[in-house]
Assembly symmetry: C3
């Protein structure tokens, strides 16, 4: 299992980690299969969405916050219940396909770490799964 | 990696692709493990839900559109921000288990490609992962 | 493929199944790779979130029910449309990494079976995927 480090600078922030994942694939020499990208935190998720226009992840961040407000009548008393709920809606793992030693993504796709209770230092765990 | 083609005919449309995936498993002779079903688009997702009554995916489509309206004060100017947000909520990949050369699904389960910005010609990428 | 049994006692209920999954990993002697945890039902999901404070999953349950009400103008006539929609939002599978024969989870993480139309007897299917 390998690690990727991510630093967030805002409370809610989608951070493009595609280059870090791509570099890891090259460094490790992984060839054919898939990667599990696993977020070991409970107030952060991971998603694959458009990387070209930053307005897209701004819309994702704002829409999620509209659906799940920061302050509401929550039971959990640490003041970050919204972040836990957003994590379940987004999911805490992503899968990407590897083919011929390359990460396969669609033309407009990027991999985003989704910070919901930053700023913090975070990790993404990466496990390689084989195809044959 | 293999490909499945999907054509949508509406803007928002859940399309049952179970038979296509099943046929691919037979054609490829895949035996034991799991399939990654990966949508390489940023305005379409994939989900596994009830396939028997079409009213179920109609309710899924309508509820998502109620939560994330087509038109709102979005930053992304291409008029499809709702589709990007729905993609993050649904997820762009699914996993299915293979056992003895057969796709394993629960009694009522079907695999749905979720079009959120159609009609379009789309792809699903399929990677086989092994168990032993 | 292996099975885990889960019994829910309420209509909407997040149930911690981490110990069951962990025990299965030990019993099977699985070493290195990942597990697919697949829910074969269409009115139940699976998520990884905080396991220490039960208030967290209570907030998840209540927020989801606020977003997707039990009773509304649904097309599906079985009275559980909300459960199907919550299943798509949560997802019906989770991935966990195995390293040196141990389930790897973050400090605060637990694996929750998400019942949305209980009480019922349920299953989680478990498939082991290898890393090398």
């Amino acid at each position: 299992m390998e690690l990727i480090n991510v630093s967030s600078t805002k409370r809610v922030q989608c951070i493009d980690i595609t280059d870090k994942v791509s570099r890891l694939v090259n460094d490790m020499g992984w060839e054919e299969g898939a990667l599990v990208l696993f977020v070991p935190h409970t107030t952060a998720g991971i998603t694959i969405n458009e990387g070209a226009d930053p307005a897209v992840h701004r819309d994702v961040e704002e829409s999620l916050t509209k659906l799940i407000p920061y302050r509401a009548a929550y039971h959990h008393l640490e003041g970050n219940s919204d972040a836990h709920i957003k994590t379940t809606l987004t999911g805490n793992s992503a899968l990407v396909i590897l083919e011929n030693g390359r990460l396969r993504l669609g033309t407009w796709q990027a991999i985003f770490f989704c910070e919901y209770d930053g700023p913090r230092s975070r990790k993404v765990w990466v496990q390689y799964l084989i195809s044959r």
